[in-house]
Subunit: 341 residues, 2 copies
DNA sequence: TTGAAAGCGCTACCAA
DNA sequence: TTGGTAGCGCTTTCAA
């Protein structure tokens, strides 16, 4: 193989009869150099296609210009959207991102973090797993002076910035919308109550009912464990078999809503006429179901970008960051599944 | 901020009255060291949580243990699946992956490649954009002795390994399945004919018709440009408005099939009774449409893993790789949309 | 079995 | 305005 060795600073210095330091300064735009020298060096570098060895630069500066990013699942519309946002923000600032998945398992999250720390990332972006109850593996970053920015799913066991979605508000808006449409018996397919986002959505749901003087019925809230389509289908079956059926269902996620939709359609219920349906997350698929699914957009791209920007800002000022939370507003996306005729 | 400086090799050497080289050897399991020394060093390292500085190691070894990966879109089920596969394979071998997106634009693909090369990746995994007709930006990697492995969407303008999907075979199987189900007038919503994968699927479609003595009608083939749901909807409208309508549609992608499905349902056609429907790619959503959508699974995870493994193998033997193609079989996934009663 | 020392490519400090 | 030089943390060759 060719392996044409790249030309180095020294080579240029030797060729031009300058010292490496002068060449370095010329290339990095330091003042106090004669125009002539700068021009000469730049021309030579250009001509010989000099590219600085990034590893050497990083070594010298004791950084990598790489951010670590850990998400529960990469093959997931919302998370891949956050990744995309983080990636673009990073690119703009000359950073890059090393990815890892935790599969929502603490064990794998710890491994991923150790791996990233071992690779020498400058800082960490993380959406923690549902299992994360302690954060030694995150503290390890802080101990080395590397900031950690959490987003979406966060834990309080570690200090630093957090970028969160306003789940409460999103749920509140969604349910209020259903109420305004005329639905009166609104059920909720929720997530695990020990997961903050799920709990917040539940609270938003409950508050919206209360604020509009509607009944909150314990039996109309079903806890999904896996947040799966199957659960959506199963619990919806339970709901429509009840003595007093709901006339709308607010689902913790679009996938669950899809399960609910398939269940209802298979049983001959019409949506949105007989039952209204709302999802959450605004997955791509919600646009294409029939009827199309109303949902709550979480602005994943902006969230990823914001998280990355926060991290890079901390890196710039060489700090670990305050213990503050940035909350991103959600957006109600009204489609057909919730439009009561 | 704390910035607790990590302990270094030198520190250990000094503390134990050894030379750095001995400590290095002890830690890296070289022979020719006394049990006693090895034990002593390892114990000390353990106790003081010594972690080698990865940047220094990389610098010394002139590598980063990082692979670059470029895909058209990160927020895309198939590609995020390939990424996931590549990531796992990389992790197993102590490598990591730096991601970039080309947005299917040559301009951005070039930028991404330059960026990755600049970051000092050891090699590149790429699925090229639809616009890629030349490959100077890929050749740049080879020129530096860094192997490039292409997957899914490939170009012949550069040599090296390619991992491809057997699009022809997948399409052939899909259409044959429709024929065996009893459909006789099979239309095809294709992609751009200058994109290899699309063309191969078209050829597979055509061959299947021929082999089973069915008519190939030019009018029944519609070229989608964006491969969008809208196009699926629009072209399907055209198809069912024709004098002689098809009784089944084989779509270039699940998204297009979804458009077709929505169109057919909105016009009151029943699937699979009146018209059969087949997608391609086996997106997550195909499982959840109603009726569920038959499709062709491309094993994205395996593809990404295979590409990464090939690249790492080349890195190991220090070569750029032969100009060979590895073709991955597809899998027919039969669901309800193609089961003629 | 161990040590000494060079050096990877670059930056930055101190001197001139 | 420029040069000399030390040194980042580690590996590896040569020597003892």
């Amino acid at each position: 193989m060719s392996d044409k060795r790249r030309i180095t600073l020294k080579d240029i210095a030797k060729a031009l009869n300058l010292s490496p330091s002068t060449v370095s300064r010329a290339l990095n735009g330091y003042p106090s150099l004669s125009e002539e020298t700068i021009h000469m060096v730049k021309e030579y570098a250009e001509k010989h296609q000099y590219v600085p060895n990034p590893i050497a630069v990083n070594f010298r500066k004791n950084r990598t210009s790489i951010l670590g990013m850990v998400v529960p699942h990469l093959v997931h519309h919302f998370f891949s959207t956050t990744i995309s946002g983080a990636l673009e923000a990073a690119k703009k600032n000359g950073y890059n991102i090393l990815m890892a998945q935790s599969y929502d398992l603490l064990k794998d999250e710890i491994l991923a973090c150790q791996h990233l720390l071992g690779m020498g990332v400058d800082g960490l972006l993380i959406s923690v797993s549902n299992e994360t109850r302690e954060a030694d593996h995150l503290q390890a970053f802080l101990d080395e002076g590397k900031p950690v920015v959490q987003f979406d799913k966060v834990t309080d066991h570690i200090s630093g910035p957090k970028i969160e979605v306003d789940d409460f508000q999103g749920a509140y808006q969604a349910v209020t919308h259903l109420i305004r449409q005329g639905y009166r018996k609104i059920a909720h397919l929720s997530g695990r109550m020990n997961v903050k986002n799920s709990h917040e959505r539940f609270l938003g749901y409950k508050k919206a009912l209360e604020d509009h003087g509607l009944e909150f019925k314990e039996e109309w809230v079903k806890n999904c464990f896996d947040i799966s389509e199957e659960e959506g289908f199963g619990f919806t079956t339970e709901l429509v078999n009840m003595e007093e059926k709901p006339d709308a269902i607010f689902c913790i996620t679009d996938l669950v809503a899809l399960g609910a939709m398939n269940c209802l359609k298979s049983k001959g219920y019409t949506i949105p006429d007989q039952l209204g349906l709302m999802g959450f997350s605004n997955w791509m698929l919600s646009e294409y179901t029939s009827p199309s699914l109303s949902s709550v957009n979480q602005f994943g791209y902006q969230m990823g970008a914001k998280a990355a920007e926060s991290l890079m800002e901390l890196l710039k000022i060489h700090e670990l960051g305050e213990n503050q939370t940035h909350i991103l507003k959600t957006e109600l996306v009204v489609r057909h599944s919730s439009l009561k005729p």
